[in-house]
């Protein structure tokens, strides 16, 4: 199969997309032209799931119409074509994040990627993988460090790993300004820390975490690092080698791809030493009735028939984003994010979580409306065709830390316009009067 290892060429940094370019982009997304409750849809929930461009849907359909076959088995032409398309997609997605092809493992989603590492570590703790895997083992006296701003997906697998192995789970606290309290890190990340797992960008606060500093702190004590990049890979240029993390996970459906596909990046040296999580067909070299030997990465982590059409569609999504230019998307969304935060801050009774106006944030804002529950805010906005997310956004501990149970979150993507952000702000300004919440 053709494997081309050239780095992807990104468009140089600029002021971002223009209004005209965004309107052209919108034509690629049929759903953005639909109406909801008799109003044009304003989709501000891409942090939960993004919409799909035609090229992604066509890639999936084209696969089923012309190449559908199982991959990595069978010698017939369709099987060869399917395998080639599947592996080309892996190369495209790996290049999109600056990884080598054998460093990108397909998973169902980011959650599965995190669980894969957590279960590989407990398998290592049980002695699986032999001496080479000892570096992944955790047990009593060791600790695992997460942060207070994690999505439940990057918290509960580590709670469970700690419970299974007797290791201790620690967390880096979040300050009132929505940034990690790095001044506390030295007391938390210690020589007995085996792994530091943290998000690149917070799905609630919009904070972009200092990956380099945390990687340095982890490396200094010999700990591994895992980055939850669900809210960064779709929105910012991400290069795993520049970041220096050991593992990184992300989801396809948040980056214009379909649901059911995500990926785990790991440094090749680590992945080839790590015991598998799911086992079965397609991940082995030799099998006897007593034991089996495993393929190198990535196949050793891909047991069973894989998500072929989804992987191919995710490859098309990565190509769409590369062609648009991640630097352009980052700059555009940073503009939208700033407009959201400034606009919300100007409305009476609104409290925005996360970095203050003027400080870096990704293109999302979660906020509390004084006197109105988030569920009611979301209902009011939906009536005007505006889709936002309400609730705890799978981050209950973080909400509790800010004294809240639920917030409303607007999250943007490359296809959102400044007019949409303004229409959203106008609607939010009507919420408290409607519910009689003004004093």
């Amino acid at each position: 199969m053709p494997v081309v290892e050239t780095p992807v060429t990104l468009t140089p940094a600029s002021a971002g997309l223009t209004d005209a370019e965004v309107h052209r982009i919108r034509n690629d997304f049929p759903i953005l032209g639909t109406e909801v409750n008799g109003k044009p849809l304003i989709y501000l929930d891409s942090g939960a799931t993004s919409q799909n461009p035609l090229s992604v849907m066509e890639a999936e359909q084209e696969f089923y119409e012309q190449r559908n076959a199982a991959v990595h088995r069978g010698a017939h032409t369709l099987a060869v074509d399917a395998t080639e398309a599947y592996e080309d997609a892996r190369t495209a997605v790996a290049r999109f994040i600056g990884a080598r092809t054998n460093e990108l493992v397909w998973t169902s989603n980011a959650t599965e990627g995190i669980n894969l590492v957590a279960y590989a570590m407990s398998n290592a703790a049980l002695g699986r993988g032999g001496a080479a895997a000892r570096r992944f083992a955790v047990g009593p006296g060791d600790n695992i460090v997460v942060t207070e701003m994690e999505h439940h997906a990057n918290l509960i697998p580590w709670q469970e790993l700690a419970a299974r192995t007797g290791a201790e789970l620690r967390f880096l606290p979040v300050g009132d300004d929505g940034s990690l309290r790095l001044e506390d890190a030295a007391a938390i990340i210690t020589p007995s820390t085996r792994l530091v797992a943290f998000s690149h960008a917070s799905n609630v606060l919009g904070t972009i975490n200092p990956v380099g500093e945390l990687v340095q702190l982890a490396r200094a004590v010999g700990a591994l690092t895992l980055l939850d990049a669900c809210q960064s890979v779709p929105h910012l240029p991400v290069d795993v080698k520049d970041l220096g993390v050991d593992f990184l996970v992300f989801s396809g459906h948040k980056m214009l791809g379909p649901t059911g596909i995500g990926a785990l990046y790991g440094r090749a040296e680590l992945l080839n030493a790590m015991p598998p999580f799911l086992t079965g067909g397609s991940m082995i070299t030799t099998v006897t009735m007593e034991r089996a030997e495993y393929l190198p990465s990535p196949n050793r982590f891909e047991a069973g028939t894989q998500r072929i059409s989804q992987a191919i569609a995710l490859g098309a999504a990565a190509n769409y984003l590369s062609e648009t230019g991640m630097h352009h998307i980052e700059a555009w969304e940073s503009r939208l994010g700033a407009r959201l935060v400034e606009g919300l801050g100007a409305i009476e009774g609104i409290r925005v979580l996360g970095p203050a106006a003027g400080l870096p944030r990704i293109g999302l804002a979660a906020f509390d409306v004084d006197g109105v529950h988030a569920h009611d805010v979301g209902q009011f906005l939906d009536d005007q065709g505006i889709a936002v997310r309400v609730g705890h956004h799978c981050a209950q501990p973080l909400h509790r830390r800010f004294g809240l149970t639920a917030t409303t979150r607007a999250s943007t993507y490359l296809y959102n316009t400044t007019d949409e952000v303004d229409a959203f702000l106008d609607a939010v300004a009507q919420v408290r009067p409607f519910f009689g919440a003004q004093r």
């Binding site: 529950h373 988030a374 569920h375 209902q379 009011f380 009536d383 149970t405 409607f434």
Partner: protein, 150 residues
């Protein structure tokens, strides 16, 4: 504002969401027995803890603590006004009648003669995502009455 939204958030619902009759939760020190139930909607974090006191087959008292949306809080307030002083068996049929309206997807209009102010929640049944909000206090009452039965 669409009429759909105004049907959902009728004035009586917005008023009860603020008034919260029956809140806060209190110890039951009357005759008979009491039962308590905590209900949670994990989707949005709405929660309620409700205590019902039953004496001589009559629901003598309903008190509750809750945090949640206007629909869930107003529903608890309206329910408190409606059921206090009614025979236990009648309250159980009211819960069933309310549940039937809520699950009807707009097909059944509540009978105001039977459900009183709770009939204002008829509009909620057209919003499937909100039915659980409206039902939260009623489920808590049902469980509390079971618990009070011992």
């Amino acid at each position: 504002m669409s009429t759909g939204l105004e049907q959902l958030y009728q004035q009586i619902i917005l008023d009860h969401a603020k008034a919260r009759h029956g809140s806060p939760l209190r110890e039951y020190d009357g005759a008979g027995r009491s039962g308590e139930s905590r209900q949670l909607n994990p989707v949005c974090g709405d929660e309620i803890t409700l205590r019902a006191g039953v004496a001589d087959g009559t629901v003598a008292s309903v008190t509750w603590d809750g945090a949640g949306c206007a629909i869930s809080m107003a529903s608890a307030s309206v329910l408190t006004d409606l059921v206090q002083g009614l025979p236990r068996d009648e309250v159980i049929s009211l819960v069933d009648a309310f549940r039937e309206v809520m699950r009807s997807r707009g097909r059944i209009e509540a009978d105001e003669e039977v459900l009183g102010d709770a009939a204002a929640f008829s509009g909620v049944s057209r919003f499937p995502a909100r039915v659980k909000c409206a039902m939260l206090a009623w489920v808590a009452l049902e469980e509390s009455l079971l618990a009070a039965n011992g």
